[in-house]
């Protein structure tokens, strides 16, 4: 009897959670839709909110893709200018975030090509993180950490970025969208205009490439 009541409570709680999740998701979509509509009407405040909501994600993705904070900052700016100019064409078939991811990847790819065309004699300037960025990372460490932990964390961050930069741009993009931004393969397919099957096989190869690039690390051995 008590067991049955317990199961019923769990089922009710699960249903309530599901309903709340659905409401939360609908709320997010509704908020996003409203924000987009306000931006389309030329509401500068709404656009400022849109930028503030996504700028962290845009910069992080561009910086990881390009490996250069300066370039990433310029790309992030261009991304939002493009969003502003083309928001009228956003049809809402994907989420706003996925649409912005697509713009970030395209802008970063173009920037990288531009760099290669003009500086053929130099490799892309990316060995990872500049000291200022590392300091920025250290400040944001979760919880208290000693000097040794801080050093290890910075060293791991550098190793990951260095390994990423040894992958092809397309492998890097698919890995970052999946592992860092948490997109599903279907969402990545939408953002990169690729079939889902291609995304999955590319992701498999990219993960293996990352494993090899980090193979000298103790954690990965």
């Amino acid at each position: 009897m008590s067991k049955g009541a317990g199961t019923g409570e769990i089922a009710m709680a699960a249903r309530e959670f599901a309903l709340r999740s659905a409401e939360a998701l609908a709320g997010v979509n509704s908020f996003e839709g409203g924000l987009v509509e306000q931006c389309r009407r030329g509401d500068a405040q709404a656009f400022a909110r849109l930028v503030a909501l996504h700028e962290g994600m845009v910069f992080n993705l561009a910086a990881r893709l390009l490996g250069d904070p300066e370039e990433a900052r310029d790309v992030a700016q261009e991304v939002f200018l493009q969003v502003y100019r083309t928001l009228g064409r956003f049809e809402g078939r994907s989420s706003l975030k996925t649409w912005i991811y697509r713009i970030v990847v395209n802008q970063s790819r173009n920037r990288r090509r531009w760099w290669r065309r003009r500086r053929k004699d130099r490799s892309f300037p990316l060995d990872a993180l500049t000291p200022s960025d590392e300091a920025r990372l250290a400040e944001r460490a979760p919880g208290p950490e000693g000097p040794q932990e801080r050093l290890e964390r910075r060293e791991r961050a550098r190793a990951v970025q260095s390994a990423l930069l040894r992958l092809s741009f397309e492998h890097r993009a698919v890995l970052l969208l999946r592992e860092v931004e948490g997109l599903s393969c279907e969402e990545i397919a939408g953002a990169l205009s690729l079939p889902a099957g291609t995304v999955k096989s590319r992701l498999s190869r990219a993960r293996e490439a990352l494993r090899r690039a980090l193979a000298d690390r103790e954690e990965v051995r």
């Binding site: 200018l81 999955k200 993960r207």
Partner: protein
């Protein structure tokens, strides 16, 4: 039984939970049983976790303020931009339509310039006075002299010019010239048509003072053009 090769190809799908239950079970069993594939699996998972746990990079400067500044500039300049907006933005087809028009205009101008160009000057052996190319008058006048023919009698020299020494002074090259005898018997023009103009200069000047009985056509005096070849010719007595 599943091979190591097949297992390794499926590790990514296994990680994402994309394998069917039976296939996932086979892979899991193999990873437990095979130390090498097990190590590969742990290595792959650790690498992916390292990436997933990497701290986010943050820009030291607010992107939003940069974007706002750029948009402010664009919006402020929009009024002026509308005034200065190039016509082709408002009418995007105007440029493509101008291309064939420009091509036609270019061809037309090219043809016009070609046709309008002065004809290539003919190679001249004569230094002819500019007045000779003036508007031509009636036939038999000084500006449009006639040639000696069955209807036109030849002018006869009335006062010959003393050109003996001048001819002697000529080189071996002969002088070819035109003398227009006016209707009053005077010499209207003397034009060098062939020969050295410097050597012929004094000779031409002397010939301008010749006087003629004018040529006549149907009994009326007309201006007549005479062509004369003057050369220094040594005449030897025939050997007998």
């Amino acid at each position: 039984m599943i091979t190591c090769r097949r297992v390794r190809r499926r590790l990514s799908a296994y990680m994402d939970g994309d394998l069917e239950a039976r296939s996932a079970h086979l892979v899991a069993a193999h990873l437990d049983a095979c130390p090498e594939c097990g190590a590969r699996w742990r290595s792959l998972r650790a690498a992916v976790e390292m990436l997933a746990e990497a701290p986010r990079l943050e820009c030291r400067e607010r992107i939003s303020s940069r974007v706002r500044d750029r948009l402010d500039v664009e919006i402020r300049s929009a009024g002026l931009a509308l005034v200065l907006r190039p016509t082709w933005k408002a009418r995007p087809l105007i440029l493509p339509s101008l291309v064939p028009a420009a091509a036609v205009l270019f061809v037309a101008l090219g043809v016009a310039f070609t046709l309008d160009r002065d004809p290539e000057p003919l190679p001249t052996v004569a230094t002819r006075g500019a007045e000779s190319w003036g508007p031509t008058g009636a036939s038999g006048t000084e500006s449009n002299p006639v040639f000696v023919s069955s209807e036109v009698s030849a002018p006869r020299v009335r006062t010959a010019a003393p050109i003996g020494d001048l001819v002697t002074a000529l080189g071996d090259e002969p002088i070819f010239l035109e003398t227009v005898v006016a209707r009053d018997g005077s010499v209207s023009t003397v034009t060098l048509l062939g020969g050295d103009s410097q050597q012929a200069g004094p000779l031409l000047e002397a010939l301008r003072h010749e006087r003629f009985e004018p040529g006549r056509r149907h009994g009326r005096p007309v201006a007549v053009s005479l062509y004369r070849l003057i050369s220094r010719t040594d005449v030897h007595a025939p050997v007998t």
